[in-house]
């Protein structure tokens, strides 16, 4: 069964019969779930020899999972997987490589202190500790492969000395050497300049001529007409459709990527907005690359920050909280200029930050609930360094009741709680400091739906009490449902701020993809 949950225009072109005898890879109705989360809900995908097939979708729509299935790193729960017309029963990464599948990740996975030739050889040569090394053949082989991708790189160079795009070419050369027929390129152009992109495209076109099938993952939609033959769109783990590339307009693709049901999200209750609490003017930080950030958030307001992974949202939050202090622009708190140079300072000024990596940074898993909830107010609950334990339990107990944190006792280590309850403990820790502004980085990531709507209700309630909230989220429905205003980031800048009324999934996505001009939004 292949569920189709949405009603959208039928795919412009279904699997084109022109290629049929040249099908390299065919996935049908693949499903895969992790724990309770279904990452792939019946996805179909096929790849022909000599084509570039783009795979697109928002953050967390299952692209990576699909790639992992293809690369043999994950086994699908159901669905069929055919390679060259033969069904694949058992697959693992080594087998996938032997079958001619190679994945080129965004960050090249090479050994920096070995030479190019050694790196390539490591991928190609069969293992065996006692085999002698044929240095001459290694170099020759590397030189041939590098010539095939048109790279002017010396086989004797150390990978450390190469630029990012050069390392990519080495990866591709190694994949070709391993006789790859299927190349997966995961965001290959994400950090390339225009000239480097053109060079990479030249290589991709040459490989297409040689009959290599390529799966091309990218957030840069403007590249697709230049390089892709077909495009498959995923949304929330479901298969939206496969379309012939020149035939489909960019606007249409965006619409296909985002369209979904908004009603299921707990909406923010309208609250009276107070004065501006936190304001950033031309804020920038060279270390993280975030620049020219202008934003403000009022008491009682939820400012959503949308953007794709890598757009600089977390970096912005870290800057506002003094974790990576800004080196340009200024931060104003209730109209007064403040210096935010450490988390301790930010906390003292009344700013709170609930980080994205809950298990790593949000809570301390080994510590019990009460100690976690009061960690940020240790000073306030201690007198001359002595912890007031009854105060601690009182405060922690109050939050456990108020947030309905499901825990057997206050002494239970937080690591034993479910994800949603851990997040509530993290939230409690910071609300205990009685902040005037709070930054929530992906507050509902990885929590189950019940806890998610509870966290949304809490946020709404807190805003109602006059808290200024900045919420970073990768989930468009959450951003649209919860925010009074939405700032959209692209390429480490805020490219547009939309009011609740202006914001639609399409407009936000257009801005996030860097099409500010088309969206026509003013900052």
């Amino acid at each position: 069964m292949c569920p189709r949950l949405y009603h959208f225009p039928a795919p412009v072109v279904k699997s084109d019969c022109r290629y049929d005898d040249r099908v390299l890879l065919k996935l049908t109705c693949i499903t895969k779930s992790f724990g309770g989360v279904q990452a792939l809900k019946g996805v179909s995908f096929d790849l022909q020899a000599g084509e570039v097939h783009a795979l697109i979708g928002e953050n967390g729509t299952g692209k990576s999972t699909l790639v992992k299935v293809i690369a043999g790193a994950e086994r699908p729960d159901s669905g069929s997987f055919e390679l060259g017309g033969k069904p694949v029963v058992e697959i693992n990464p080594a087998a996938a490589r032997a079958l001619g599948i190679a994945v080129i990740y965004q960050q090249p996975a090479l050994f920096p202190d070995l030479t190019v030739a050694e790196n390539i050889a490591l991928r190609l040569e069969t293992r065996g500790a006692w085999r002698t090394i044929g240095w001459k053949t290694r170099h020759q082989q590397a030189a041939e492969l590098l010539a095939r991708v048109g790279a002017a790189i010396s086989p004797g160079a150390h990978v450390r000395e190469l630029t990012m795009p050069q390392q990519q070419l080495v990866e591709i050369a190694a994949a070709l050497g391993a006789d790859a027929k299927i190349l997966v390129l995961d965001e290959p152009t994400a950090s390339l300049s225009e000239r480097e992109v053109e060079n990479l495209f030249r290589v991709i076109r040459a490989l297409r001529e040689q009959g290599v099938g390529m799966i091309y993952i990218s957030h840069r939609l403007e590249e697709l007409p230049r390089i892709a033959d077909r495009v498959t769109v995923l949304r929330d783990g479901t298969y939206v459709g496969t379309y012939a590339m020149p035939a489909i307009a960019r606007g249409e693709i965006i619409r296909l990527m985002v369209g979904r049901d908004l009603a299921a999200i707990f909406p923010k209750v309208a609250a009276a907005l107070g004065n501006v609490v936190l304001e950033a003017r031309n804020l920038g930080c060279r270390a993280s690359g975030v620049r020219d950030v202008c934003l403000s958030v009022r008491a009682g307001e939820i400012l959503g920050i949308a953007g794709l992974v890598g757009a600089g949202r977390t970096e912005l939050a870290r800057m506002l909280f003094g974790l990576t202090p800004a080196d340009a622009g200024e931060i104003l708190l209730k109209g007064r200029r403040v210096v935010m140079d450490s988390p301790a300072r930010a906390a003292a000024l009344g700013i709170a930050y609930v980080p994205e990596d809950r298990r790593g940074h949000g809570v301390i898993l080994e510590m019990p609930v009460d100690a976690n909830a009061t960690l940020a107010i240790l000073r306030q609950i201690s007198r001359r360094g002595f912890i007031n334990f009854s105060r601690e339990r009182e405060i922690a107990g109050a939050y456990v009741r108020r947030f309905d944190i499901k825990t057997p006792s206050l002494d239970t280590p937080v690591g034993n709680l479910s994800g949603g309850n851990q997040q509530k403990v993290a939230l409690a820790r910071w609300l205990a400091t009685e902040p005037c502004a709070i930054i929530l980085d992906e507050p509902t990531q990885g929590v189950d739906v019940g806890a998610k709507s509870e966290i949304h209700r809490l946020m709404s309630e807190l805003a109602g009490h006059g808290l200024a909230i900045i919420m970073i989220s990768s989930e468009l429905p959450e951003v649209l449902g919860m925010s009074d205003r939405i700032a959209v980031m692209h390429d480490r800048r805020i490219v547009g701020v939309l009011s609740r009324e202006q914001a639609t999934q399409e407009r936000v996505m257009e801005l996030a993809l860097g099409h500010a001009a088309e969206a026509g939004a003013a900052i």
Binding site: I364, K406, G450
Partner: protein
């Protein structure tokens, strides 16, 4: 998506709490091993308790003091392998100060301060410059020891004033004094780790330095303080050890860091930081210190001591690994 329409609160039900045995399993099992060892000794050679038990604890007292500091260091995700050298430097210094005619309380205070200063060197390099503690303390292990050799040319400190050995008391009273000081220091630290916010900061930093930093704790200060305390405790341990003999050997404390780390690890400290209790350390010290005298009473050649200690460490760590797998 469809599930959103039917929120299921029971999905958020928490995992069952671990029992106190699994949480303090290591402390309990090491304590059982210690009691079993004592029981065997009581049955086979009752004279152990008459002659040896007290002495064992007098021998172990300096180790216990250093193990307190080491527990804090390991708890904060660090390690200090320079303590053997610090121990020697402080011991020689205490002897020289006493010989120079300073009153005993002054000697004690200055020795502890000297230890704290040496610890501050470690802490400054590790917290200030962000260097890995194993490398820094490996360097200071050599530097402290060699500086001492260079200054003293390997000479013993002899002809110590009468007031130095056993604080000028009788041996029995001096031994009790030693036990009392270690006991008080241990109690103070065990209490502080539970009741002072500083103690909780050490746990937080060791569990997750980044989470602690986000919570407004300054991990570098905590790490610095922990190394300084380690130094001060080593200073005190050196003094208490030095007063037991009529002269001070500059080669003292060689390999001592391993004894101390072993006791802490057997006591249940996670070498990855964030988990340790001082009670566990206490039992770890007790168990390892009893092995050597027990062997004598069991008529086992003493060269087996190190091997058995090694086996105990392996057993302790292996049970951790097994338990983690079991989870």
């Amino acid at each position: 998506m469809t599930a959103l329409a039917h929120p299921n609160p029971s999905a958020a039900a928490p995992a069952p709490s671990r029992s106190s045995f699994s949480r303090y399993g290591r402390e309990i099992s090491v304590a059982i091993a210690y009691v079993l060892l004592l029981a065997c000794l009581a049955i086979r050679t009752p004279q152990f308790f008459r002659h040896q038990f007290f002495t064992t604890w007098v021998d172990a007292a300096p180790i216990l003091l250093a193990a307190i500091g080491m527990t804090l260091v390991i708890l904060a995700r660090q390690i200090d392998i320079s303590i053997g050298s610090m121990f020697a430097v402080c011991a020689v210094l205490s002897g020289l100060l006493a010989k120079a005619g300073l009153p005993m309380p002054c000697v004690a205070l200055l020795t502890v301060l000297a230890g704290a200063a040496l610890g501050a060197i470690n802490g400054g390099l590790i917290a200030g410059l962000g260097l890995p503690s194993i490398v820094v303390t490996l360097a200071t292990l050599v530097v402290f020891r060699q500086s001492l050799m260079w200054v003293r040319q390997g000479q013993f400190v002899n002809d110590l004033p009468h007031g130095f050995q056993w604080f000028g008391l009788s041996q029995r009273a001096g031994e009790w004094m030693l036990l009392a000081i270690s006991g008080v220091v241990f109690t103070v630290f065990a209490w502080a780790m539970r009741w002072l916010s500083a103690g909780r900061m050490v746990y937080a930093v060791g569990s997750s330095p980044e989470a602690a930093r986000l919570a407004g704790i300054r991990p570098r200060r905590v790490v610095f303080a922990v190394f300084m305390l380690m130094g001060a405790l080593v200073g005190l341990a050196a003094l208490l050890n030095a007063v037991r003999s009529p002269d001070v050997d500059p080669k003292i404390g060689t390999g001592w860091e391993l004894t101390v780390i072993a006791a802490v690890v057997v006591g249940g400290a996670a070498i990855t930081g964030g988990r340790a209790t001082l009670l566990g350390t206490f039992i770890g010290v007790a168990l390892l210190a009893t092995i050597a005298p027990a062997l004598v009473f069991f008529n086992v050649p003493s060269q087996w001591e190190k091997a058995i200690q090694g086996l105990i460490i392996l057993a302790a760590v292996a049970t951790d690994g097994l338990r983690r797998r079991g989870n």
